[in-house]
């Protein structure tokens, strides 16, 4: 029994000390696998990208309150087949932190979603296309900040053929036989 307790204690202390080191070094933001969005040739579709800020960290929103703060920005690589439209960022939360209790910062914590509008060209062939992007963010915790990081991401867009244009029979003009 004593051996069991000793080994359990040993295991726990090793685990706890390892956890202490995980903070500053690892990336503070990760993206969940993006759903494959189907877009019809020539039509717009929205791709939702879900990100998660690690517990204990915050990153600036897309519209931080100070000119000195680095906003979270998704930079999408240009593609030849898909027009990249507007990127919509969620509103951040106004939060105070221990290092500046009187100041409200506009930040993302936990899960947040960025929406990207895509529109395949009319001429593009149907199929699956990959779009690459980079999320730039700058993370802090309650006592320290970390240099800005670039998180490379990608998502798939499935392009479907546009349905054939519906051709109506033109109304028959009255044809009078005399």
């Amino acid at each position: 029994m004593r051996m069991l307790l000793t080994s359990a204690l040993f295991l726990f202390s090793a685990w706890a000390s390892a956890q202490d080191d995980l903070g500053p070094q690892g990336p503070a933001v990760k993206m969940a696998p993006a759903p494959v969005v189907t877009a019809v040739q020539g039509k717009s579709a929205t791709v939702p990208l879900s990100f998660r800020v690690a517990s204990g960290y915050h990153i600036n929103s897309n519209k931080p309150k100070s000119e000195f703060l680095i906003p979270t920005v998704l930079k999408i690589e240009a593609t030849t087949d898909i027009v990249i439209g507007r990127t919509t960022y969620p509103e951040g939360q106004d939060m105070s932190f221990a290092f500046a209790p009187d100041e409200k910062l506009n930040v993302y914590t936990g899960d947040f979603k960025v929406l990207v509008l895509v529109r395949p060209l009319h001429s593009v062939q149907a199929g699956k296309y990959i779009v690459r992007a980079t999320l730039k963010y700058q993370a802090c915790d309650n006592a320290a900040c970390y240099p800005p990081k670039l998180l490379p991401i990608s998502f798939d867009v499935k392009i479907a053929k546009a349905p054939p244009a519906h051709i109506r029979n033109p109304a028959q003009s009255p044809h009078v036989h005399r």
Partner: protein, 186 residues
């Protein structure tokens, strides 16, 4: 052969502990531990960087003074908390041969860094840092990071992240008490 579950658990615990210890050691080598082992107690790596006033400052030129070397950035909230303390500490301990040096480690323009420093009322030199200087101090992956040099230029303490003002006072007193003071030039 019948295996004792207690022994199996113990073996699993040891393997898991070794794994975690390995991860920890690897991380330490990459970051802070590297700086601690390689730098502490030794002469601080020397560098020469441009200051906001346009002049260059060489760290070794401060030999004879106790130095607080603070790596910071304009985007760093915790750094903003320390700066007013540093202004006070420079006033209080400066006459005893103490010098604070700030090293800005961000991508902001020199004008923005100068504007920020003015707004904070900084009364000590701010240098424009770069990656290689950060690397020479073991890699500055956390801001603020502050090193303390004794009068001989040896690194005697370091602080990662925001610490209490009393922590800084203790380290400053330690830095002032060690090494050889250089008489002020007339």
């Amino acid at each position: 052969m019948k295996r004792n579950p207690l022994i199996l658990f113990f073996i699993a615990a040891i393997v898991a502990a070794m794994l975690f210890a390995g991860i920890r050691a690897a991380r330490n080598n990459r970051a802070n531990g590297h700086a601690k082992r390689q730098l502490m107690g030794n002469l601080a790596p020397d560098f020469e960087l441009p200051a906001l006033d346009g002049k260059n400052l060489k760290l070794s030129d401060l030999r004879g003074k106790a130095v607080l070397l603070n790596f910071w950035a304009t985007y760093c909230g915790p750094c903003k908390i320390e700066m007013p303390w540093f202004v006070e500490l420079q006033k209080e301990y400066g006459p005893q041969g103490f010098q604070i040096v700030g090293v800005a480690m961000d991508d902001a323009s020199t004008e923005d860094i100068a504007k920020f420093a003015r707004e904070m009322g900084v009364n000590y030199p701010i240098l424009i840092g770069n990656e290689s200087v950060g690397q020479s101090f073991g890699g500055v992956s956390v801001l603020p990071t502050t090193f303390f040099l004794d009068r001989d230029g040896r690194l005697i303490a370091r602080e990662f992240g925001l610490r209490s003002r009393s922590n800084f006072v203790d380290d400053i007193k330690k830095a002032l008490s060690q090494g050889k003071a250089v008489p002020a030039q007339k």
